[in-house]
Symmetry: C2
Subunit: 206 residues, 2 copies
């Protein structure tokens, strides 16, 4: 379709904003905006303000770097969790995936990404220094590396391993029930849950 | 996936709002929200406010009922358009589709829907009375019915035909180059453009 004529600049602005979202083309953006146009002003206010508030007010947990409504997230603040078992994940979604399995009672460390030279993401861009500090802090008795079984995940595992091996803290990794090359977030709960229960000592080979 | 644990109520609210949009599941909603979380506060404000402002400030043209930033839309306010040729369409998107063909220099009447007993939409829910008034007003010399060639479109065409046949104003319909059963908004510009140029007198048969 050639250049689209919008009947209203207000509409066009809203479509432009939606079309910036990943996976949303201009046709989909228009459909979403026209749907919102049919909702009540109050409902659209709720939508817009939920997004604005979320961005402005959400915090990062000072311990695990997961997002949180408080300085220390619910998981890190929970005394019933095992604070000696530390699960290292790439991002927020992976915390949610692991929590969903209900197989993990430890705490997390969210790297905020994965080492990927192709995307220009190096160790300094991730929460690796703070991880090393936590592991050397004495409270952690096991580090469970739960990164996606991809080349980038493996690279990140190796990098972390080299940084914390001298701490003497045992390092494990989730069992590769998850097929090699898959993204962690698409794994089903049963497979991911079993891979946590069957975790194995980390070596340079597995 | 069973009930999802969100690390933040603010995040959960935003995901819930996105998941209300048509065609957006909870996984997609989460992905969109996490994308916004990575954008600057200013950019997310722009997004949220564009949507809120659009809903609060956009108007309906008092003549054709298309959406507009002003009381009378740009098309109705344009003296270069042929105000004696009135194109009846279902909704805003169809105005945009017809405008995109650059084959139509008349004006529009947006019904705001289509007669669909299955969805509980009857003539009283649509801008049909105002259409009848416009047609009987004297300025209109041709009514072009440009509804989707579906059962609902045909029903609506017949209903309008019966309401305005006594005005003596010629009634045409877009040529059925568009395949029967398709939605108008998915027609390609060339087909839709040709179907406007080749419009034919409306009868109960075509």
């Amino acid at each position: 379709m050639s250049l689209q004529q919008y009947p209203s600049v207000l509409l066009e602005n809203a479509v432009n904003e939606f079309a910036k979202l990943p996976g949303v083309g201009r046709k989909s953006a228009l459909r979403l905006v026209l749907h919102l146009l049919k909702q009540s002003e109050e409902d659209v206010d709720l939508f817009g303000n939920a997004v604005i508030r979320m961005r402005r007010e959400v915090k990062r947990c000072r311990s695990c770097h997961n997002i949180s409504d408080t300085d220390l997230c619910d998981i890190c603040a929970n005394p019933a969790r095992d604070h000696s078992l530390l699960c290292v994940v790439e991002n927020i979604k992976d915390v949610m995936s692991v929590e969903n399995t209900q197989q993990f009672r430890g705490v997390y460390h969210v790297l905020g990404g994965i080492i990927s030279p192709m995307d220009g993401i190096g160790p300094a861009d991730l929460e690796i220094d703070s991880l090393v500090q936590r592991v050397h802090g004495g409270e952690v008795h096991e580090v469970l590396l739960a990164l996606s079984p991809t080349m980038e995940g493996d690279t990140t595992n190796f990098y972390i391993y080299r940084k914390i091996a001298d701490s003497g803290v045992p390092i494990t990794t989730i069992a590769r029930g998850v097929s090699i090359g898959d993204e962690l977030e698409y794994a089903d709960e049963v497979t991911l849950g079993r891979s946590i229960v069957n975790r194995v000592p980390f070596t340079m080979k597995n």
